[in-house]
């Protein structure tokens, strides 16, 4: 069906609209925070424990950037083969998450999550996420939860450990408990 003459835009109008659109699109694209800058911020904030857990998009972004830039992994791991890259003190995490990086495939690599401390506290739900999938489990005081990492990668592999936030009335009992996250080798 052809557009009636009155409704047909002039060639000049189309040209102006396209050029304006291109300029706006270029500006919008240019003004968007660069991906690497977002990764830089994420890296620092995770290291300081100064942010919430990564969103799904942020997780994918960090995973993809690690794949594209091996030198980033060298920097994150400081020469190690694997390790925790978010705020921790010898595996002890204070936030409700921990992020780990494994440089290459290891068939017996696993994540171990343990809780120590006093108080009853009960179980805390734990979710483990990699680029290929998610697993759920629970941990209680004195018991360790061990997850074998998926060997199919991709590598370097980003691993997220998320702890469920306890209900408000349980917070007081769980305040004096400590969560320890480690990368281990299964026998």
């Amino acid at each position: 069906m052809s557009i009636p003459y009155r409704a047909r835009p002039g060639a000049g109008f189309v040209l102006v609209t396209l050029c304006l659109g291109a300029a706006a699109a270029l500006s919008a694209w240019g003004l968007k925070k660069p991906t690497l800058e977002r990764v830089w911020e994420m890296q620092i904030q995770l290291g300081l424990g100064a942010r919430k857990a990564l969103s799904a998009a942020e997780f994918d972004l960090l995973q993809q950037t690690m794949l594209r830039y091996p030198e980033l992994v060298d920097n994150l791991l400081e020469g190690r083969e694997r390790g925790i890259i978010s705020a921790n003190e010898d595996g002890v995490v204070e936030k409700d998450y921990a992020y780990l990086v494994v440089r290459g495939p290891r068939p017996n690599a696993a994540v171990e999550i343990g809780r120590t401390g006093t108080g009853r506290g009960g179980n805390i739900g734990v979710r483990l996420k990699t680029a290929t999938g998610t697993s759920r489990g629970a941990t209680s005081v004195g018991e360790k939860l061990v997850w074998r990492l998926p060997p199919e990668g991709p590598f370097p592999q980003l691993v997220e450990v998320r702890l469920d936030k306890p209900a408000k009335k349980k917070k007081r009992r769980q305040r004096d408990q400590v969560v320890i996250v480690r990368l281990v080798e299964l026998p």
Partner: protein, 956 residues
């Protein structure tokens, strides 16, 4: 109001009209596209990189360009209340073009003429760009070096850098250099300033003063040699820069005077010691020629902040203090706020030699601990950073060119070094990251330094003798303070150190270090320093800057034999003092059950008489290879004649007592040097006399040198016929030299100088100096020359000096009841920020009675200036010191003087009523009777030499 018709016309626009309307947008897009491409290309060429122009890279550059342009629209004005100094440079168009044309040429550029304005003062300067890295040259803010011409100084500085500092945090060097200055180190100024060029705001730069003479004056050091070490020469036989093996990398950038300009003796001896001396020789060299405490303080800052700039190639600056006779470092270029799991990120050759020398690491690690728990604790550093940022933040907000690198993750060098627009939010994030890195390092270091690193084991020797082996590992050393032995009997015991380290107990060869009784705490008096060992290991990341070796702590063993007379010892409690934390560590050892002897698994230590090659595998000598510190002794000289043909140097542990009536006769050129405390107990009838052995030839001189001379007292002493002292590399300008000490008293002291010396009495770096009833005569230069001294002078009699009777530099003094007679130039010359409070002083027969210069002040009370060409004068000629000088006088008598007060511009002389006749009443009566000890003015007038002419001397 836009009509429908107009909108319709717009909707039906022809292509030609549309092309006209679209052109600005097309040009805008093209402009940005081209600008981004050009920026990327420039950056790639500067970094010599072949990074492809990906969409990601393009987007980053486009983002930054858009952000910068938008920022300009919202840029606030620089606050009028800004606290940053403003430096305004003006260049002609031609000079600016000449400057810019040098950017594309390799090597250092040539200075172009410009003017600099600061605080309404205008200076002629030379300016050139500096820095080879892209951030110094590519952006609008280019780093510059500025050189003031015609001998002018800006705040005491002749040459300085204006740096485009692109570190995101930007406060690293500022914080560390402030700490260096507070620790008493020489540290050039480093602070943010606002720069304008040809009336355009260029934003915040970092002002960095160059280490030169002005730094020494501001640091209250005597202006003398500074050596700067920078080279690009690499050794051919190993992966290491050649700076410490070749003199060509060292440049002398300051010197004492023209005669010393080309004298490189100090650096030659330094390099010889570092590169070729044995361990023992180096230990002696360091003890005599290196200010160990200050070098350790400098090194401690590198350790605490993870600095890696003082390496095998660059960034070394050493000052040689002629009156202390020692080299000390100039704090320069730290960067820091880095962390790797080692104490020193770079072990340069000097540092390795120092670490291999016993005692150095104990001093250094103690200073590291004091910093970490004090001025460089994490909360303190955080507070310093916050204060510094609050000061500069308003200006940074108004800075159109505020940028930084390292704002992208470390994915490649290309991305990491990209200079990008900054903001307060980015700064806050970067600052948190830097301080977190610092906190991690602080934690790592404290864990090392607070660790217990000593253990004890025992072995049975036989009979009632047990061997006690202490093993020290890690970074902490100990002092063996006390031993309490337990045994079934209350018998005496002795302890021998296995000083020959043969593992066998032989009381005739091993050294007795303690004797006591079972059950009673006993302090060993020898062989008490227990330090960990040190080994050189190959670096895994060797490169010319960092060298190919680093140091690593290794266990060191110390064996003692404990012998109880009447029974077998069963156990021992050792009290060990921690040399780092100053705490106490108690170690209990059971001696009952024989155990296997502790096997020394470490390789045999290097012998102290070998010269290390600084290669992997070399070990520090065992501390017991060096003789133990000698016990303090008292050396009595006299009474009677004591002949010292070749002079004598009394060591730091020797306290010398010169008995009343002692006559010390020194041979030609021989000197008497005291490195420890000296007491001369003369009396009116039996003074101590120091004189010539050969009446026809002067002896050298007398010197009190170093901190161990503190507390010295010389009472009723006469020194006759000396020239100048001589010891090691120390400069002595006088018959009597007192250097680098405190709490020294000279009372009823008579000394004369002849033509073979400059000054008669010279003191430098002395606090609490007391000179009472001192009689000084002669001397071709000054009677008494004091530099950086504080103290109390009373009852001085100084006569017939060739230059000034009292020459003062950087002093804080009280002067009372003193007579300065026949001074060829100035009676009192107070310079270089001196503060003198004088009461009851007579200056007679001088060209100028009292001179104040270089931001000094003299307060003169109830004093007399007699027959001077000028009674009081203030100068303002030397520009190393900001601020004018002043003299304030009350109850002043200026009799027979040509001019009473001559004040240069911007200085002040404040006198009330001035007495112009000699009368025997009021304050003049006190001067006549108590100070001059005369009964009539006629007697005084007869003593005064004729007034000198106006020729020569210091011009106003």
């Amino acid at each position: 109001m836009i009509s429908v018709r107009w909108l319709y016309q717009l909707y039906k626009l022809t292509w030609f009209a549309g092309a006209i309307l679209a052109l600005p947008f097309v040009l805008l897009v093209a402009w940005y596209g081209w600008s981004v491409y050009a920026d990327v290309d420039r950056y790639r060429r500067a970094l010599k990189s072949r990074e492809p122009l990906s969409a990601e890279l393009f987007q980053i550059f486009l983002h930054d360009e858009l952000v910068r342009d938008l920022h300009r629209f919202t840029l606030p004005s620089r606050p009028s209340t800004s606290v940053l100094p403003t430096l305004e440079l003006s260049l002609t168009r031609a000079k600016l073009d000449e400057l810019r044309s040098q950017l594309s040429k390799p090597g250092a550029g040539v200075y172009v003429d410009a003017t600099l304005k600061k605080d309404d003062e205008v200076y002629k300067v030379g300016v050139r760009y500096r820095g080879g890295q892209p951030w110094h040259r590519l952006g609008a803010q280019k780093s510059m070096k500025v050189h003031l011409e015609s001998g002018a100084l800006l705040d005491g500085v002749r040459v300085f850098n204006l740096l485009n500092d692109v570190t995101p945090f930007g406060l690293e060097d500022q914080i560390i250099l402030d700490l260096a200055r507070e620790a008493g180190l020489l540290a050039p100024e480093y602070e943010p300033v606002w720069v304008r060029i040809n009336n355009s705001d260029m934003g915040v730069y970092r002002y960095e003063a160059q280490p030169e003479e002005g730094l020494l004056r501001r640091g209250r050091r005597y202006p003398a040699s500074i050596f700067s070490g920078d080279t690009d020469v690499v050794r051919k036989d190993r992966v290491a820069g050649a700076l410490f093996w070749e003199q060509s990398g060292w440049t002398k950038v300051a010197w004492k005077d023209e005669a010393h300009r080309n004298d490189a003796g100090e650096i030659e001896r330094f390099l010889q010691a570092v590169g070729a001396s044995t361990h023992r020789e180096f230990a002696r060299y360091v003890n005599e020629n290196v200010n160990l405490e200050r070098y350790a303080a400098f090194d401690a800052l590198d350790v605490v902040f993870g600095g890696a700039e003082h390496d095998y190639l660059t960034n070394h600056k050493l000052y040689f203090d002629p009156y202390v006779g020692k080299l000390e470092p100039v704090a320069w270029s730290f960067r820091g706020f880095q962390h790797e799991p080692m104490l020193n990120l770079v072990d340069n050759p000097l540092l390795i030699r120092l670490k291999l020398t016993p005692g150095y690491l104990a001093i250094r690690n103690r200073l590291v601990y004091e910093l970490l728990t004090g001025k460089a604790s994490v909360p303190e550093v955080r507070a310093r950073a916050a204060r510094a940022f609050r000061r500069v933040a308003p200006d940074l907000s108004a800075d159109p060119y505020w940028d930084a690198y390292k704002l992208l993750p470390r994915v490649s060098r290309f991305y990491r070094f990209m200079s990008r627009p900054m903001s307060k939010a980015k700064w806050a994030l970067a600052a948190e990251a830097e301080i977190e890195t610092f906190a991690n390092r602080s934690r790592y270091l404290l864990n090392l330094l607070e660790a217990r690193t000593v253990s004890a084991a025992s072995a049975w020797v036989g009979g009632n003798v047990a061997a006690l082996v202490l093993t020290v590992d890690g970074q902490v050393g100990y002092a063996f303070n006390e031993l309490t032995l337990h045994a079934p009997c209350r018998s005496p015991f002795v302890v021998h150190a296995d000083s020959d380290r043969d593992g066998r107990y032989d009381p005739t060869r091993d050294t007795l270090v303690a004797s006591g009784k079972v059950g009673v705490g006993t302090a060993p008096f020898h062989y008490v320093d227990l330090a960990p060992g040190l080994t050189l290991v190959a670096r895994s990341d060797n490169q010319p800057k960092r060298g190919d070796v680093r140091t690593e702590a290794t266990p060191e063993h110390y064996r003692y034999f404990v012998a109880v007379r009447d029974c077998r010892p069963t156990s021992a409690d050792l009290d060990l003092g921690n040399t780092v934390t100053r705490g106490s560590t108690r170690v209990h050892v059971d001696l009952v059950a024989p155990r296997a002897a502790v096997e020394e698994r470490t390789a045999p230590a290097a012998v102290a008489d070998l010269a290390p090659a600084l290669a992997a595998g070399e070990k520090a000598p065992h501390p017991w290879e060096y003789p133990p510190r000698p016990a303090n002794t008292v050396v009595r000289l006299g009474p009677g004649v004591v002949r010292l043909e070749t002079g004598r140097v009394f060591a730091t542990h020797e306290a010398v007592l010169l008995e009343a009536g002692t006559r010390l006769l020194l041979g030609p050129g021989a000197s008497l040097v005291f490195l420890g405390p000296v007491t001369a107990d003369g009396s009116v009838l039996e003074p101590v006399v120091i004189g010539r052995l050969d009446p026809a030839q002067p002896f050298g001189g007398v010197a009190l040198q170093g901190q161990q001379t503190a507390g010295s007292r010389l009472v009723y002493v006469r020194v006759e016929g000396g020239s100048r002292a001589s010891y090691a590399d120390v400069d002595y300008d006088a018959v009597l030299g007192i250097h680098d000490t405190h709490d020294v008293t000279l009372r009823d002291f008579v000394i004369a100088g002849d033509g073979a010396t400059d000054d008669v009495v010279h003191a430098a770096y002395v606090t609490a100096l007391t000179l009472h009833e001192l009689e000084v005569s002669g001397g071709p230069q000054d009677g008494i020359d004091l530099e950086f001294v504080s103290g109390d002078l009373r009852g001085l009699r100084v006569a017939n000096s060739g230059d000034d009777c009292l020459d003062l530099m950087g002093v804080q003094l009280r002067l009372a009841d003193s007579v300065l007679l026949g001074c060829s130039n100035n009676g009192i010359s107070a310079g270089e920020e001196s503060a003198v409070a004088a009461n009851g002083v007579v200056v007679a027969g001088a060209k100028v009675g009292v001179l104040a210069k270089n931001h000094s002040e003299v307060r003169l009370n109830r004093s007399l200036v007699y027959q001077a060409s000028e009674a009081l004068r203030t100068n303002r000629r030397e520009m190393h010191y900001a601020g004018g000088s002043s003299i304030g006088a009350s109850d002043l008598a200026a009799v027979g003087c040509g001019v009473v007060a001559n004040a240069a511009k911007n200085t002040t002389i404040d006198v009330g009523y001035v007495q112009t006749d000699l009368v025997e009443s009021g304050s003049l009566n006190h001067i006549l009777e108590q100070v001059l000890r005369l009964s009539a003015w006629a007697e005084f007038e007869a003593q005064v030499p004729p007034r000198v002419s106006l020729d020569g001397g210091e011009a106003p």
